[in-house]
Amino acid sequence: MMQFMLLFSRQGKLRLQKWYEAHPDKLKKKITRELVALVLSRKPKMCSFLEWKDLKIVYKRYASLYFCCAIENDDNELLALEIIHRYVELLDKYFGSVCELDIIFNFEKAYFMLDELLLGGEVQETSKKNVLKAIAAQDLLQEESEEPRGLLEELGFITGS
């Protein structure tokens, strides 16, 4: 079972965090700090797997973003790498050549997509077609429910009817 997934930039800024095991916020911050430092200190040709406490860390860098996840001891490391890759593919397909900014500005979409791929730390749907279909259906509902608004209304200066 995957324990958590973190996305962070080369500067160490956390862009996305998903925890599949409940921890207090303080501990989450501590773990994040520790792992960001650990992964950033590694050189390019090094192995993508690390032993860390009683977990295995699997990470991969895509452009300026590091994708890092923690799996349990009997989980398959190579497949964890490919989960990361499949997630990147999904983001890429959805945003069209995804970049860090897409994830920053549309973080909620990134979460929705991750929930389709993984649930409770286990792989739920590996078919790219099926995930994208589900997300497309969500977007369709969104468009239907949101009628266009004026800029002032958007910024909260006036209230819509």
Partner: protein
């Protein structure tokens, strides 16, 4: 949500952390006022503000409001508002939040919604939070979604994984046994996504009750087989050519092409099978359903190999196919292709190792991993090393793994990534056995000099364990450990150096070598403190073995050690002081030098209490005690009990995963040769027998040799073997011994009186002007009861009267918890693994009035044959002066004999049966007493043997028989005594089935004739 985008841009444009915080605080104030004041806030705005809060939270700021608004969003009928509400709840609300009841209510509503997309949202929220409260409220609803025929596939997928999450957090609340068969059959589902999710859930159920879900094995095997051996590969090849024939699309993602190919194949060829359409979407870079394959392979690792031969054959075929595919040329150069293909391969190898039954598969797996050891992908090398560790523990593949030793050693030396080198160390450890131990240990030692600090300690432990386990020649072992200390002293934990001392003490064949080697090692200008400790301890015990060489004479050894003294910490200094006092015993000629050191102000007035006390007491001991006393107190350490190495325990504790039970254990089911314990046991042994008086006993501490930090020689007051409390009173009032002691520390006359009891049970054991000690005893089979009577003949009161039993060698006694005697027992008799005689004394009273008599009762049991007698140490105070009497207590082997009657034929049959040389003992000796027939007969009867008539043709000869009772056995004893009156000589022959008995009994009987 443009407002959100604007806010995010603002944050990104902030030039400093302060500006960012300022902007955030402004936004928080804004949102707070909106939530508070504006009642007319619509769903869209709530969604936007909640989303902003979420963003702020994810930046790492604390958010303490907005939860109510998020919960409101859950009941919105607009999907996107609901979705953001759920996201906020999943990310920010802890399981114990007050609002949880409302959340659960909203989830309930959505679960029963007819819109599957709402059901999925609710399920995802449950899976993300997974609280116990949710399990209670929804634990019965969700299983129905999973097994119902009406549920759409996507909901089934989410339901399976949501249940899995709840099963993990609250296993007692999730009960699906009602539907177990239907759940198992989800493995047959048409939809691969459902199968993938269900497989995870089923694995968790299987772990809980394997029997109940046993049916999943055959289903999993057939599903796996369909994936692995699908006709799909043919089509795949077809697709492959299309991809590469069109250069423009080579770089595009495979799945795009997949759709394209699919259409192409479908329309033009019309050869699509149903399994093909299944697999189509789940093929990842030319590998069919890697995630599902891996899940199925893992599921099967919960069971032994299938019993049904057909299923088993099918599984073997699958595994072979997977191994075969690994040899095929890659269908794509992309790393995703090889990763997913190898993911399946490694999981298949895990299953092969788990089944551990097919040598062919195991060896093939090993060869495959061998290829990976030199692969250019670091990840593969890492995984291959890891997987091989497991293969090394299988008897079928251990030899195959060993073939790769050179490659692994090269990895250890050349890998640039420390985590890979760590794996190489693990594998070397796992593949080590008697044949390659020297080479592997040598390589590891060499590597240790340049090893990363992060893995040194573990390497040291591993080297120490291997060296001990596979040592044929213990000098090699000693060399290895000393090298460890030399190369990596800081990383040599106490366990390691305690261990080398234990082994040296237990094996007298290496003691001389060890002394010589540590002596040489100590000559290095800078040597590690651990080396000084080991050196100090070993020279203190065995320095005499090398003192014959003028280059390592006593004084040189002492000076060498003392030159390190000032560089060491207090623990080591304490140990060295103990070494010095031991030197006084080993080398009386340097007593003066040592006393000077002990006397120096630096020691005698040391601010460290322990060092000061040791100096004072050792100095006093060396001044007061006679040579005999010193020799007894400072005797060589007794052997340590043999048990599992604590180093191994430490390694297991440190890295449970890296010690897959030493390969040797698994293969041979036996413990390493020289394993002895230094666990946390009360058998803490002191560095030397004479221990400082008031130091608390370190028994029971986690201290291993009993000389751990701060090196405190444990035990409260101790005495020499037969010396009782003599040393305890080094500082006490001058002692008046009850009539002086002989060389064995016994009161004069003790031995003679003791002998009187060989053939009788009652009498006076000791008598002087003031005290009379009488003994009455009775024996029945292996049990005995002694009453000891202490009579005060004076007109003074005896106070502080104690009579403690001290058992030499292997005798044991169980003390009543009255005094410090337990400590004494621990010092001299660390382990009674060979108990011969156990005695239970009851204490005598502390005071004996004038003219009165006190009684002490001792119960004894003969556990096995023995020769030494227990010693009774008596001390008391009479008119201000301390009296000491040490007596041998007449608990004698023959007391446990009972006479036996038999006829001539039986006697001679048995006599002849005992014809082995060690079953007989014969003595010819001069008579000490008149050779009177009746007297001899009385003595034989008193010796507990029968006197048999009409057996020996010569009527002058005595023939006797008896049975010696011990706790575990009855030992037959036959004796023949032939007097020769002319020569005033006897010939005594004793035969017994137990080889050590005849000589002991001959000694005893001879002294009586």
């Amino acid at each position: 949500m443009r407002g959100l985008a604007v806010f995010i841009s603002d944050i990104r444009n902030c030039k400093s952390k302060e500006a960012e915080i300022k902007r955030i605080n402004k936004e928080l104030a804004n949102i707070r006022s909106k939530f508070k004041g504006d009642k007319t806030l619509d769903g869209y705005q709530k969604k936007k503000y909640v989303c902003k809060l979420l963003f702020i939270f994810l930046l790492g700021h604390d958010i303490d409001f907005g939860q109510m608004e998020a919960v409101n969003l859950l009941s919105s009928n607009k999907y996107t508002e609901k979705q953001i509400g759920y996201l906020f709840i999943s990310v920010m609300i802890s399981a114990h939040n007050d609002l949880m009841k409302l959340v659960i209510q909203a989830i309930k509503n959505d679960l029963s919604s007819r819109n599957p997309i709402h059901v999925t949202l609710a399920l995802q929220c449950v899976a993300n939070i997974g609280s116990r409260e949710m399990a209670e409220a929804l634990g019965t609803e969700i299983p129905k979604l999973l097994v119902s025929g009406d549920t759409i596939d996507a909901v089934k997928q989410s339901a399976a994984l949501t249940l899995l999450r709840l099963l993990r957090t609250s296993p007692d609340l999730i009960n699906i046994s009602e539907w177990s068969s239907r759940v198992i059959h989800l493995l047959n589902d048409q939809h691969m996504g459902v199968v993938t999710s269900a497989a995870s859930f089923i694995e968790a159920l299987v772990k809980r009750s394997p029997e109940e879900y046993k049916g999943c094995v055959s289903l999993a095997v057939s599903r796996l087989s369909r994936i692995v051996t699908s006709s799909y590969t043919d089509l795949q090849d077809y697709t492959y050519y299309i991809v590469f024939s069109d250069c423009d699309i080579v770089t595009a993602y495979y799945t795009d092409l997949q759709d394209y190919t699919y259409d192409f194949v479908f329309s033009d060829c019309g050869i699509v099978t149903s399994s093909y359409t299944d697999l189509q979407d789940y093929t990842y870079y030319f590998v069919p359903a890697p995630w599902l394959s891996v899940k199925l392979l893992r599921l099967l690792q919960n069971y032994p190999p299938p019993e049904d031969p057909a299923v088993r054959t099918r599984l073997t075929e699958c595994l072979e196919t997977i191994l075969n595919k690994a040899q095929e040329p890659p269908k794509s150069k992309k790393v995703q292709h090889s990763n997913s293909k190898n993911a399946v391969l490694f999981e298949a190898i895990n299953l092969i190792i788990h089944m551990d039954s097919d040598p062919n598969l195991l060896v093939r797996a090993c060869n495959q991993l061998g290829q990976f050891l030199q692969h250019r992908e670091t990840n593969l090398r890492y995984l291959a090393l890891e997987s091989m560790c497991l293969l090394a523990t299988s008897e079928f593949s251990h030899e195959a793994v060993k073939k790769h030793q050179e490659t692994v050693i090269t990895s250890l030396k050349t890998e640039r990534d420390v985590s890979v080198r760590q794996r190489a160390v693990d594998l070397l450890y796992a593949m080590c056995d008697r044949t390659n131990a020297e080479e592997i240990v040598g390589e590891m030692l060499e590597y240790l000099e340049s090893a990363d600090y992060s893995i040194r300690e573990e390497m040291v432990l591993k080297v120490a364990i291997l060296a001990e386990k596979y040592a044929v020649d213990y000098t090699w072992y000693v060399d290895v450990i000393l090298n460890l200390i030399r190369i990596s002293g800081d990383y040599v934990s106490e366990e390691v150096w305690y261990r080398v001392i234990q082994i040296v003490i237990n094996r007298d064949d290496v003691q001389g070598y060890a002394a010589k080697t540590v002596f040489e090692a100590l000559q290095a200008p800078a040597c590690h403190e651990n080396m000084v400790k080991v050196g100090g301890y070993i020279l203190g015990e065995f320095g005499n073995l090398i003192a014959g060489d003028p280059r390592s004479s006593a004084i040189i050894q002492f000076q060498l050690l003392h030159s390190k003294y000032h560089l060491c910490g207090p623990a080591t200094r304490g140990l060295l002081l103990s070494t010095y006092i031991k030197f006084i015993n080993l080398f009386p000629e340097i007593k003066g030098d040592i006393q000077n050191v002990l006397k120096s102000n630096n020691n005698l007035k040391n601010s460290d209490v322990e060092l000061q006390q040791r100096s004072v007491e050792y100095l006093q001991l060396s001044t007061v005690a006679s040579l005999d006393v010193l020799a007894t107190v400072l005797e060589e350490m007794p052997p340590f009990p043999e048990r599992e190495s604590s180093i191994l325990a430490k390694l297991k504790k440190k890295k449970p995963s890296s010690v897959p039970d030493g390969p040797e254990e698994k293969r041979e089911h036996k413990l390493p040769q020289a394993q002895m314990s230094n666990n946390i046991e009360v058998h803490a042994l002191p560095a030397i027998s004479a221990a400082p008086l008031s130091t608390p006993s370190s028994t029971g501490s986690a201290d291993l040799l009993g000389l751990g930090a701060p090196t405190v020689a444990p035990s409260t007051g101790g005495g020499g073997g037969g010396l009782g409390g003599l040393l305890v009173d080094v500082f006490d009032t001058p002692t008046q011994n009850g009539g002086g002691m002989d060389a064995n520390g016994l009161t004069a006359g003790s031995d003679e009186n003791y002998r009187k009891f060989i053939c009788k049970n009652n009498g006076v054991l000791f008598e002087n002007d003031s005290l009379q000690i009488g003994v009455k005893s009775e024996y029945r089979q292996n049990l005995g009861r002694l009453g000891i009577f202490f009579g005060n003949k004076t007109s003074f009161q005896f106070t502080g009267f104690t009579a403690d039993l001290v058992c030499p060698g292997n005798l044991e006694y169980i003390f009543f918890p009255d005094r410090n005697a337990i400590a004494i027992q621990n010092i001299f008799f660390p382990l009674n693994f060979f108990v011969q005689l156990s005695c239970q004394p009851k204490p005598a009273g502390e005071v004996i009035e004038c003219g009165a008599q006190n009684q002490q009762v001792i119960q004894a049991e003969c556990v096995t044959e023995f020769s030494e007698a227990p010693v009774l140490n008596i001390s008391y105070t009479m008119s201000g002066s301390i009296q000491r009497i040490n007596l041998k207590l007449p608990i004698i082997l023959n007391k446990f004999i009972e006479p036996a009657e038999m006829d001539s034929a039986t006697f001679f049959t048995r006599w002849k049966a005992l014809s082995l040389p060690n079953q007989e003992c014969q003595r010819i000796f001069k008579a000490q007493f008149p050779m009177d027939i009746e007297q001899v007969k009385t003595k034989l009867l008193g010796f507990s043997m029968s006197v048999l008539l009409d057996i020996d043709p010569n009527p002058e000869n005595f023939v006797s028989a008896g049975i010696l009772y011990t706790r575990t056995a009855q030992i037959g004893i036959l004796a023949r005594l032939e007097p020769n009156k002319q020569a005033q000589m006897y010939r005594l022959t004793i035969r017994s089935s137990k080889e050590s008995c005849p000589s002991v009994l001959c000694d005893l009987l001879e002294s009586q004739l």
